[in-house]
Point group: C2
Chain length 376, copies 2
């Protein structure tokens, strides 16, 4: 009698950062943001939703652990998808819209690693629910946005812009695709997951405090971001430099907040210096080879072109040795091209100082990827 649908949705990494809401309930941002959707081959949320008349109450299970369904953000997404499904009249079995649901969601990466799991999670929840109710082709980003702001960007593949919008009801604060993943097939991504024992400020709370207290945030929003949004669609050098500057500016705003919130740690800063050193290998004014971006956590997302993956990976491996993991645990995702890595000249490698072991938990090699899809 019950029906179920299973879908997956990707993680996205903002290169122009979202930080600050103009409406806390509707989750409307104070500035546009631009993100890159990462491949679901390596990082994804998978969500199965079962609807049935025999299900006694709504249940939410995240990575096997039952969580409260009373979360207002979950409630709002559920109500909004149902409202649209009723209006569209495409539900294969309209009775289903009254049944309770069982939501089982799991990530193929540790939630605690701070890898934007709420964006993938809400995108997957909304997309799976819409698929179950027969409206997966509707514009869903405005609904996912009400679950977690950045989730709206995980509904599209490739390069995605989330518009600030002007309306107070949020109806124009939606995500659009700027370019598909296939537009730039050479783009690769290395996610460096940093060991960290400190619990950071939750980003919802952090951005609320920034909006209240940071004087520099006003200037960022009115002057810096609009300019960057216009410039970012250029070559890799332009893209990478803007990504780095915007990541730095976002963390600068966090520091200008009172009391300040910190997301990067000393290892994050070592990664920033390392990227700078790699980019200076060919001279100070040469086009860059690799760019970093840090979300509200210590992990780095490195963007680079396929031709530079072997060299950069070999350097990262040298600088951040491990001895608590096996190589398979340490390097995840797209397999290393070992012969190409071996070919990196020793003179290049040896110009980089080796840090103490185990500063990174692991490295995920991935690419730009597709949006959500049904997998059952």
């Amino acid at each position: 009698m019950s029906t179920s649908v299973t879908c997956i949705a990707p993680v996205n990494i903002a290169i122009i950062k979202y930080w600050g809401k103009r409406d806390d309930d509707l989750i409307l941002p104070i500035n546009d943001s631009i993100s890159v959707t990462l491949s679901t081959d390596n990082l994804r949320t998978k969500t199965k939703i079962t609807a049935g008349p025999e299900i006694a109450k709504n249940v939410l299970r995240l990575n096997g652990v039952e969580e409260s369904f009373e979360n207002p953000r979950i409630q709002r997404c559920l109500q909004e998808v149902r409202r649209r499904a009723k209006a569209a009249g495409k539900c294969p079995n309209p009775e289903m819209l009254e049944w309770n649901i069982l939501v089982e969601s799991e990530n193929n990466f540790p939630t605690a690693a701070g890898l934007a799991s709420s964006a993938a999670g809400y995108a997957c929840f909304v997309y799976t629910l819409a698929t179950l109710y027969g409206i997966e082709s509707e514009e869903l980003s405005g609904i996912a946005r009400m679950g977690s702001g950045s989730a709206c960007r995980s509904l599209y593949s490739g390069y995605v812009q989330w518009a600030r919008g002007e309306r107070t009801d949020g109806s124009d604060s939606l995500a659009i695709q700027l370019a598909p993943a296939s537009a730039w097939p050479e783009m690769h991504v290395l996610v460096l997951v940093v060991s960290d024992r400190k619990k950071a400020t939750a980003s919802t709370q952090g951005m609320a405090t920034s909006v209240k207290t940071s004087e520099l945030l006003k200037h960022r929003v009115s002057v810096c971001v609009p300019e960057r949004v216009k410039l970012v669609q250029g070559d890799f050098d332009t893209f990478g430099r803007i990504a780095m500057k915007d990541s730095n500016q976002f963390h600068a705003i966090c520091l200008d907040t009172f009391p300040p919130c910190f997301y990067m740690n000393d290892v994050s800063r070592t990664i920033i210096r390392l990227v700078d050193q790699i980019n200076n290998l060919a001279g100070e004014n040469a086009p860059i080879k690799v760019a970093y971006s840090f979300d509200a956590g210590p992990n780095a997302c490195l963007f680079l072109l396929e031709k530079d993956v072997a060299e950069v990976s070999a350097i990262v491996r040298r600088v951040f040795p491990f001895n608590e993991s096996t190589a398979e645990e340490y390097y995840k995702g797209i397999p290393n091209d070992e012969p190409a890595m071996q070919a990196v000249p020793a003179s290049v490698l040896e110009s980089f100082a080796v840090e103490e072991p185990n500063l990174l938990r692991y490295i995920i090699h991935t690419k730009v990827g597709e949006g959500p899809k049904r997998v059952d």
Copy 2:
């Protein structure tokens, strides 16, 4: 035949930070700054200058090590003091102005600790030279400024403002005393010297890169600083909150610089969180008890009133235990009031988590103090 003079000069800590020059040669700043002069009882440079016809060449010895006298900043200060001495005609022995000099300078704190040693050093050099040549009563801050910008503030006691000035020749970019040390006798200072193995960007280079690349710096200079300069002379709560916000904003600008420069480390951030926790002991909206300020390095300067010294010291001691130093090496400066520290309730202390040992190298307890003086 030779003549010598020995003077001391204090360290100062900016609470509204100087960051960025409008003229690199004359060292003219892009914004006003305000500082607190620390007591020479605990932190000072002592400089002896000997002039004599038998001295074959100019010699500069810092902490016993000979340094180049060709440094253009040293040369400029020397020439400018001599020019003024000639113009004033007060030199007891005008021949002396043609003799070579031997400069012997030493700090009573480690230079490497990043405690604004160049400010105290140039202030002491200029003051000692002026004393030797009989012009110590002249306005010397414009000369010290040409050695090291912040040195101009070390020529005055208490609370000092260095004006940006408007003129291109720098003649109005001088320091003035806002209030003597005696105006606020309850003000105490704890300097937390943080262990750090990374060499930071030199501040001269860092601020030049900030001026070139930080978009947020323009807003800081034109909007934030002028407002803070007006507000800072209030009660301790106002003073302390502005000091903390301006320190944070300065480090935010460093992070918004490309490539970013980092001066605080994870221990600095732990201190910031600790201060926030201490200030919340009496409730989130209670007046603050302690404020931090970080210069271009990881060390914290904590400002607090005498009545709170025992409690704050006891908490800092608990959070940052040591086992590589003796208590005498670890707590320097004004002696601890042990009975008052013992009286801090265990329930207060136990609300603070203990960090791993030796994150701090030592703690210096001092007060606001006097300007340079002759000591021989």
